[in-house]
Amino acid sequence: MIDRQTSDRKTPDGKTSDSALPNAIPSLTSNLDLEAPDKPYLDSNELILNMGPQHPATHGVLRVILKLDGEKVLGTECVIGYLHRGVEKIAENRTYTMFNPYVDRMDYCAAVSNGLGYCEAVEKLLNVEAPPRAQYIRVILTELQRLASHQLWLGTHALDIGAMTPLFYTFRDREEILKIFEKYCGARLTTHAFRIGGCQYEIYPGFEKDVKNFLAFAPPKIDEYETLLTSNRIWLERTKNVGVISGKDCIALGVTGPVLRASGVKWDIRKAIPYANYSKFDFEIPVGTNGDTYDRYLVRMAEMRQSLRIVEQAVNGIPEGPIMAKVPKLIKPPVGEIYHSIEAPKGELGYFIVSDGSTQPYRLRVRPPSFVNLQALDLMVRGALVADVVAVIGTFDIVLGEVDR
C-alpha cells in the first residue's frame, strides 16, 4: 500500500561496492529544498510541517521538519542544538574529578552508565584498575540503571502510540530502582555514583537485601508489561514493519545499541570488548530479525530480563576488599590519548580523551549514541505516515541532553 524504498538496494552489478552505499542512502539533508522558491503555500500538495521543539511526541527539544505529500512523509530534517551546553568546552577548563558530575547531565535518563564510562576512560588513561569489589558494585548499579532507562523508554513510547496505562506501571516499578540509588549515593537521577579509581561509598548495610527484594519484585512486573502490549492487536498493527532498517544500513550509519541488535546484528560491547569484568557474568544478547519497531520493542524487553540476570549473579558474588584503587588526590595523567566505550542503554557511549599531562583534559570528546542513531530517522521514516514518525522517534529512545551535549 505505501510504496517504500527498500533500504538495502543492490547496485546493478549486484556488488554492494562503496559507490552503492552513498546513493543507497540519499544524502540526508540536501534533498529537502526547504527554501522552495515561490510555490504558493496550499496549492502545491507538498506541505512543510514543523514538529517543533515543543511537540509532545519529540522527547525533549528536538525539531523535525517534515515534508509531507498529504499524510505521506517525503523527507525529514532534524534541527537540534536547542539543549547545547558546550560540555566539551567546559571539560577543557575543569580537572578530571571536577568534570565527573557534568557527565551525568548528558544522558539524564542513564546517569550511572555515563559515570561508569567516564571513570573507566580516565582509569585506562592512568593505567589503573578499579578493585574487583568496586567493579561488582559498578556492574550492579549500571544494570539497574539500564533497566530503569528501558522502563522509562517503554512508558513514553507506549504513550506516544496511544496506550496510557503502561506509563504508570513502568514508573511505579522504576521508583524501586531509584530508591536503591537514593539510599546508595543520595541522588535519584543525576547520581554521580562513581569516582575515578572505584566507588566513593561502601554499600550501605541493607544493599544486598534491597537488591534481592527488587530481583524478586521485578520479573512479574515485566510480565505485566508483556501481557499489556506484546499480543495487543492494535500495538502490533502500529509497530509491525514500521521504521524498518537493515543491519547493513545500521552499520553504515553507525547506529548501535538495541536498534542495531533489532536489525539482526549480534553485537554488544559488553561481550565484544568486555569492560568492568562483564566477562565474569553469563548473559545472552537478544537479537531481532527484521529490524522494525516491534523487534526493537522485543529486544529491549529481553534486555530488561538479561540485566536482571546479571544483577543477580553480581549481587550473589560481591567479593570482599577495598573499594578504591590507589589514585593520587590530584589526577595528572601522562601525555597521551585513549578512546574507551561502554554499552549504554541507548548504544555505544564513547569517551576520547587527549591529555597533555596537566590536571585538565586537553580535549575530551564524547561519542553519544542518540546523536548518531538519530541520523537514521530520515531513512526509516521516508514514505511512512505522520503517526509513524512519532512511533519511530519513540523507538530510538533518544535523549536530547545527549544529542546536543
Binding site: I161, M164, T165, I234, R238, A387
Partner: protein, 430 residues
C-alpha cells in the same frame, strides 16, 4: 387541565403517541435532566476508573473521594474565558457545538426506557435515530472549519471521514437486527424501538442469542462501530495528542468546549442505548423465557433496592475508613450524608417493590413496573459505559489508514454477510 393531567396516567401509551403534549414536555425535561446528571457521574466515574486502572487514585481532593470534582469542573468551564480566534467565522463557531449537542440529544426522544416510559413511540424509531446521529458529523465539520487554523481542519476532516465510514457498517448491523423482529407471528417487522423490544419479549429471546452466531456477530460489529462513531478510545484519532494537538475542538475553550464534551458523552449514552434496545432486550430482565412467573418477578423487582443498598453500604465503609484526622471531619460527614441519602433511596425502592407486588392495579404496582424497566435498561447501558472506559485504558490508538482499512475492508463485508445470512436463515426457519 387536571383531568387531562390525570387522564394520561391510566393509559399505557408513551405520552408522545398518546397525544398528551404536557406530559411529553415533562418527560423531555426529565430525560434531559437525567442525561445531564448521568454525564456528570460519567465524568467522575471515568476519571476514577481510569485512575484505578493505572494504579493511581484519581481526583481525591475536591470533596470526599473527589465526588465534587465534576461540579468543580462544570463551574470552572462556565467561568473560563471563551476565546474565539480572530479570523474565525463567529456565527459558525457558535453554531457548531449547538449542532453537535442537538444531534446528540434529539436521539433521546425515541429511546424506550420502558413500554410506556419513552417520550414518544415513533413508528420509524431506528430510522430517525440513524438520521439524527449522522447530523453529528455536521457539528464536527463546521467546528473544524470555523476555527480557521491548520490542525483543527485536518482533525475535523479526519473524524468526519471516520464517522461517515463507520455509519455504513453500523447501519448494516442495525438492519440485520430489525430483520429479526419480523420473525414473529404477524410476519411484519417494525422499526419502532418499543416494537423491537416487544418483539424480543414475544419471541422470549434477546436478539443477541437469536440464530446464535449471527445475532452475536451483528452485535459485535455494532459495538465496534459505536466506539468509532463517538470518536472514543481506540479510534480517537481526532484528539490524537501525539499528532494533531486536539483535533477539531482545539480552539474551543470554556463553556463551548464543555458543550462538546456534553455532546460526546450524550452520544455515547445514546449509541449504547440503541445497542441495548436492539440486542439486549431493552427493559426486560435477563433470561425472560426461563425465569418468568410471579415469584421471579418479585425477586427481580428487589434488584433496584438491593443495588442501591449495596452502594450505600460501600459509601458507608468508605466514610468509616477515612482517617479520623480533623482535616477530614467535613469530608467524612459529607460522605456519611451521601451514603445515608443512597440508603434512603434503597429503602424507598424496596418498599415500593414489596407494596407493588401485593395488588396489581394500584399506583404502587405501576411505579414498581416503571422502576424495574428503567433499572434494567440503565444497568445494561452502564455496562457499555464501563466498556468505553476500559477500552480507553488498554488500547493504543489506531493509525488513520488502519482505521479506515478496518472500517471498509473488515467491518463492512462482515456486516453485509451477516445481513444476508440473517435473511436466509429467517426465511428458512419458521
Amino acid at each position: 387541565m387536571l383531568q387531562e393531567f390525570m387522564s394520561y396516567l391510566g393509559s399505557n401509551l408513551p405520552p408522545g403517541s398518546a397525544g398528551n403534549q404536557l406530559w411529553a414536555l415533562i418527560y423531555v425535561f426529565v430525560i434531559f435532566a437525567g442525561v445531564a446528571v448521568i454525564v456528570l457521574c460519567m465524568n467522575w466515574i471515568e476519571r476514577k476508573a481510569l485512575a484505578h486502572f493505572q494504579i493511581r487514585l484519581g481526583p481525591m481532593r475536591v470533596g470526599p473521594h473527589g465526588l465534587l470534582q465534576p461540579f468543580a469542573d462544570a463551574l470552572k468551564l462556565m467561568l473560563k474565558e471563551d476565546i474565539i480566534p480572530d479570523e474565525a467565522d463567529a456565527v459558525v463557531f457558535w453554531v457548531a457545538p449547538v449542532i453537535g449537542l442537538l444531534a446528540a440529544f434529539t436521539v433521546y426522544i425515541v429511546i424506550p426506557f420502558g413500554p410506556s416510559q419513552a417520550v414518544t413511540d415513533m413508528n420509524i424509531g431506528i430510522l430517525f435515530m440513524l438520521g439524527v446521529s449522522s447530523l453529528g458529523v455536521l457539528g464536527i465539520v463546521t467546528a473544524g472549519w470555523a476555527s480557521n487554523s491548520h490542525y483543527p481542519l485536518i482533525g475535523a476532516l479526519r473524524s468526519s471521514a471516520q464517522m461517515v465510514s463507520y455509519e455504513v457498517a453500523m447501519g448494516m448491523a442495525i438492519l440485520s437486527a430489525i430483520m429479526m423482529t419480523s420473525m414473529n407471528a404477524a410476519g411484519t417487522g417494525t422499526l419502532s424501538m418499543i416494537g423491537i423490544v416487544e418483539a424480543q419479549q414475544q419471541q422470549g429471546i434477546w436478539f443477541l442469542f437469536k440464530f446464535f452466531p449471527l445475532g452475536f456477530i451483528a452485535f459485535v460489529i455494532f459495538a465496534i462501530a459505536m466506539v468509532a462513531e463517538t470518536n472514543r478510545s481506540p479510534f480517537d484519532l481526532a484528539e490524537a495528542e501525539s499528532e494533531l494537538t486536539a483535533g477539531f475542538h482545539t480552539e474551543y475553550s470554556g463553556l463551548r468546549w464543555s458543550l462538546f464534551m456534553l455532546a460526546e458523552y450524550a452520544a455515547m449514552i445514546a449509541v449504547s442505548s440503541i445497542a441495548v434496545t436492539l440486542w439486549l432486550g431493552g427493559w426486560m430482565h435477563p433470561f425472560p423465557n426461563l425465569l418468568h412467573g410471579p415469584a421471579w418477578e418479585f425477586i427481580f423487582s428487589l434488584f433496584p433496592g438491593l443495588t442501591f443498598g449495596a452502594l450505600a453500604a460501600i459509601t458507608f465503609i468508605g466514610a468509616a475508613r477515612m482517617p479520623s484526622h480533623s482535616f477530614f471531619r467535613i469530608q467524612r460527614a459529607g460522605l456519611a450524608v451521601f451514603a445515608a441519602l443512597i440508603g434512603l433511596v434503597a429503602l424507598l425502592l424496596l418498599v415500593i417493590a414489596v407494596a407493588g407486588r401485593a395488588n396489581d392495579t394500584s399506583i404502587a404496582a405501576r411505579f414498581r413496573e416503571g422502576i424495574d424497566y428503567v433499572y434494567w435498561f440503565m444497568l445494561k447501558v452502564a455496562v457499555f459505559m464501563y466498556l468505553f472506559i476500559w477500552y480507553r485504558a488498554t488500547w493504543p490508538r489506531y493509525r488513520f489508514d488502519q482505521l479506515m482499512k478496518v472500517g471498509w475492508k473488515v467491518m463492512l463485508p462482515i456486516s453485509l454477510g451477516v445481513l444476508i445470512l440473517t435473511a436466509i436463515v429467517g426465511v428458512l426457519l419458521p
